[in-house]
């Protein structure tokens, strides 16, 4: 390559550490997965190139279809509950003073608990003999059992996730709210805006950036949920709470089917990438079209 500005080439040395880091932390492991996904490895000495065979097999796996469907339902439910609830929480939190500090700490508490401990907490919480929730429901006449009833198990995992992660959305939304200058609220009072109008035209648009982060984070995290349902229900009863991660782990670690597991890992990765891409673009376009309110 002919280059008249050789000085520029030195920049490669500056970028090199990053390239190495990324290569060893992300690209190489991913390539290993790609490597596994196209071969049938019988022993370290014997391996057969199988092309797309694993991919085809995985895509036709009905068990996986069910797990994917459960996963999508679960992530959707998580977003639909946690985002509005988080915003509502943030709106009702005090803006300043010692109360704000106290409330912030209380709200952030559940975020500080390790995932498997969260699972354990809820496991005990939901037990009908000693758990507060389980026992109370039993006394109220609900035959509640997260280990026996698939419906109950699904809802318990969902509520556990809401309990665990809504505070994250609330904190993000709170940060967004606090960054709105007072002049906006004053102007709204002068303009005679109702509380709903203040929310709709000032607070919500100003929170857009942080809400986008919240939606993406909550989507990705819930789509990869593993530890909490693993501890709480172990994926059961039946397959009621077997989400994608757990399905994958069972395949890779439990049955040692590295080929299909690798193929599925890649598919999993692309599904998350695709959903995030779609979500991101959809939220970017929200409120940026010229006449979106239709009464210009």
């Amino acid at each position: 390559m002919t280059n008249h500005k050789p000085v520029n080439q030195k920049a490669w040395w500056l970028v090199l550490p990053v390239i190495l880091c990324v290569a060893f932390s992300a690209v190489l492991p991913l390539m290993t997965v790609v490597n596994y996904s196209v071969q049938d490895i019988i022993s370290p000495q014997r391996r057969v190139f199988v092309g797309t065979e694993w991919f085809v097999m995985v895509m036709r796996d009905t068990e996986l279809h069910l797990a994917l469907w459960r996963q999508i339902q679960f992530s959707l439910a998580v977003l639909l509950i946690e985002i509005p609830l988080g915003i509502a929480l943030a709106l009702s939190m005090p803006a300043a003073g010692w109360r704000a500090s106290v409330v912030l700490v209380i709200v952030a508490l559940s975020l500080l608990i390790p995932w498997n401990v969260v699972g354990t907490i809820w496991q005990i919480f939901g037990r009908s003999d000693i758990g507060l929730l389980g026992h109370t429901l039993l006394k109220l006449g609900v035959d509640y059992s997260y280990t026996g009833n698939p419906q109950h198990a699904w809802w318990t995992v969902l509520i556990m996730d809401v309990w665990h992660w809504t505070p994250l959305v609330a904190l993000l939304a709170y940060a967004g709210l606090r960054s709105i200058p007072d002049a906006y609220y004053q102007a709204a009072r002068i303009d005679g805006a109702s509380q709903w109008a203040v929310f709709r035209y000032i607070q919500l648009p100003k929170m857009r950036g942080v809400l986008m982060i919240a939606v993406l984070l909550r989507f990705m995290d819930s789509f990869m949920i593993y530890t909490e349902p693993f501890v709480l229900t172990g994926g059961g009863p039946g397959n009621a709470t077997t989400f994608l991660s757990q399905y994958l782990t069972t395949k890779a670690v439990g049955q040692f089917d590295l080929g299909p597991a690798a193929a599925f890992s890649l598919i999993y990765f692309f599904i998350i990438l695709l959903f995030c891409f779609v979500l991101y673009n959809w939220m970017q376009s929200l409120g940026t079209s010229d006449k979106e309110q239709g009464h210009a």
């Binding site: 303009d191 005679g192 035209y201």
Partner: protein, 361 residues
């Protein structure tokens, strides 16, 4: 529209003790219906506090606000029907320019036809007609501030429109244009306008009457000429004008004053109560006198600046610095020269306890 009367004081701290605790010291003031006023003063002088009290964003800690005699002290901005424009542009990001302008009207359930007519008129005045269908978020800072101004002016029935340093973010050349525009709008719409600024040029060109404020006190209210010719307070003398008024300690005696132990005699019929005073004279009126004319004192020139259309002389007189503006027609003295400065003149003002002492009998 309304006559606005203030009789109040405000402190942000409970139980104010000293004057320093007050953001706004007790004051009485009236704003005539349809007048253009400016509140002028340095940062922290209480002008924004006063504005927010008028608009109803702030309830004064004591006293009342009256609109046309009606007590509105505790009424919301909406009840008072006030419009206010803030220092930094406030726009509703998700709306178009037209929707932004229409927002205060829509919130008040004004009929759609009237909204369209009103928005069209204001947009035309502010030269926003071309952008009505654009999203407000994408516009430049001064366009956004024009929208804020427009939202302030769009309601025809407001009691008053308040401006809180609205041209801070605007480019200098556009500032002139917008200020002229506001003046013109004032004539066309006959609204009461109250304009807060720390820029004397802005205040003096915009308003019929300027309220000069300093440390929570409204020190003088008057037309530009009054503020210039007869500053009621040394602060006004010092704040208005560029450079501000010269002050010299003096001793009032019969028929004249002692400055630097040297007697000066009044030419005109003036009588001051005897005792220590401050002599104030504007650089524009500090002219050269004759030695021994009984009105002038010698001073040493320490600096001569050529400002283009005039010379600015800095002189030393008995340890005090005086500035004088000399017309460019005559050759100025040079540094180190001794000049005779005519300190007594019809324009000379005297102050005791920082307040103007009327010298005439």
């Amino acid at each position: 529209m309304a006559l606005i009367e203030l009789d109040l004081a405000h402190a942000y701290v409970p139980n104010p003790r000293s004057d320093d605790d007050y953001a706004l010291l007790p004051l009485k003031m009236a704003f005539r219906d349809g007048g253009a006023y400016a509140l002028l003063g340095p940062s922290g002088c209480g002008k924004t506090t006063m504005l927010n009290i008028i608009s109803g964003l702030l309830v004064p800690s004591q006293g009342t606000v009256r609109f046309d005699g009606r007590d509105v002290t505790r009424d919301s901005p909406q009840r008072r029907n006030i419009a206010q424009v803030f220092q930094f542009p406030v726009i509703y990001d998700t709306m178009t320019v037209a929707q932004n302008l229409a927002f205060p009207l829509r919130n008040r359930k004004v009929p759609e036809a009237e909204i369209r007519q009103r928005v069209g008129r204001i947009a035309e005045m502010l030269e926003l007609s071309g952008q009505l269908d654009h999203r407000a978020a994408g516009l430049s800072a001064d366009q956004k501030q024009k929208i804020s101004l427009g939202r302030g002016l769009v309601r025809s029935d407001v009691s008053a429109v308040l401006f809180d340093e609205p041209l801070t973010v605007i480019d200098p050349h556009l500032k002139w244009q917008l200020r002229r525009k506001l003046k013109q709008i004032h004539h066309e719409l006959k609204l009461t306008l109250i304009y807060v600024t720390h820029d004397q040029v802005e205040a003096l060109t915009f308003a019929d009457e300027v309220v000069v404020m300093s440390r929570g006190r409204a020190v003088q209210k008057g037309a530009a000429e009054d503020l210039f010719e007869r500053p009621a307070h040394t602060f006004v003398g010092h704040f208005i004008g560029s450079p501000g008024m010269n002050f010299l300690p003096a001793q009032a005696v019969r028929g004249g004053v002692l400055v630097n132990e040297q007697p000066l005699a009044f030419q005109e019929d003036r009588r001051l109560p005897e005792g220590p005073v401050k002599l104030g004279i504007r650089p524009e009126y500090l002219r050269m006198g004759q030695p021994g004319d009984g009105r002038s004192l010698p001073a040493r020139v320490s600096r001569v600046q050529d400002i283009g259309t005039y010379f600015l002389l800095t002189c030393e007189l008995g340890g005090h610095t005086l500035k004088s503006r000399l017309g460019a027609e005559a050759a100025p003295p040079s540094v180190g020269d001794t000049v005779h400065l005519r300190l007594l003149d019809a324009h000379t003002c005297f102050y005791r306890d920082e307040q103007l002492v009327e010298g005439t009998a």
